[in-house]
Amino acid sequence: MAVINVTNGTQAILTVGSNATLAVPGNAGGMVVPFVQDITVNASPGTVRYSTLDSTSSSAFTTVNENSISLNLLVDEDIMFGADDSNVNTVIDKGLFVTSTEKTEVHFSVSVTGTGTTGDIFIAGKGFIGGLAPTASVDGAVWLSPCELIVNGELTRTFEA
């Protein structure tokens, strides 16, 4: 039992791919999103509360999960707007911005404990890129943007073999 230290630069890394294999952490064809300042994995089951006459407390039942990944990043030119036109991973070609505007579904993973070691944990899923709002200011000096991956389906937890 130990807290997960994220200060060595290999944990909490987001990898995006046009298919599930490309999005696995450590895959050479994956698009690793650099300059991420913070990342949040939202895995929330929906709930409905109801009251009954025989109880002084409300009860609840679960509905569907609503999952998303949210992050804030410094805008890297290639990652945001695309690198070239020759990659198997089309997300690299188009970048986050065009992939978002074209509403293309992407696969992704968030490495939790790093990558390359047996037992390393990552969270994976697929969904749509949204929430991009690149902002520039004199005080900020660089472009900054929030980003959200609206998950289509369930998030999975995987241990590296």
Binding site: G9, I13, P34, F35, V36, Q37, L74, V138, A141, V142
Partner: protein, 131 residues
């Protein structure tokens, strides 16, 4: 070109109309422990630039986005009993010399005075921040 060189060039231009003030490119400007600006009153000496690099943004992948602060000091001593009539203009022209440096996030200049015996020493500090 280094920021110090740019400043010297601009200060030279800005004080051209002030015949009682000149500028030296000399480094170091110290003779037997005595600063030359105290010996050669009316001559501006510009020190070598100092640079401090700090991390501007921290990221989870340890990407480097750094901020560099370049500091340059300049010195001018004048006789307190016979201060130049145009000293305020000279000081103003020295302060705005910072505008010669472009492509920086922030630039500012200020000065302070120090009086020892009959000598007033103006110490100018220029700061330039780049990312």
């Amino acid at each position: 070109m280094a920021i110090r060189d740019d400043l010297i060039t601009q200060i030279t231009t800005n004080i051209a109309a002030h015949s009682n003030v000149s500028i030296s490119q000399e480094l170091p400007f110290d003779q037997s422990g005595v600063p030359l600006y105290n010996k050669n009153m009316g001559t501006i000496y510009v020190d070598e630039q100092d640079i401090v690099v700090e991390q501007l943004y921290r990221t989870l992948d340890q990407g480097e986005v750094n901020q560099s602060t370049t500091t340059v000091n300049a010195y001018l001593s004048v006789d307190a009993k016979n201060e130049y009539s145009d000293i305020n203009t000279v000081v103003a022209n020295l302060l705005i010399a910072r505008n010669v440096v472009t492509n920086v996030l922030d630039k500012n200049s200020d000065y302070e005075t120090d009086m020892v015996d009959d000598v007033i020493t103006y110490t100018f500090e220029y700061n330039f921040i780049t990312v």
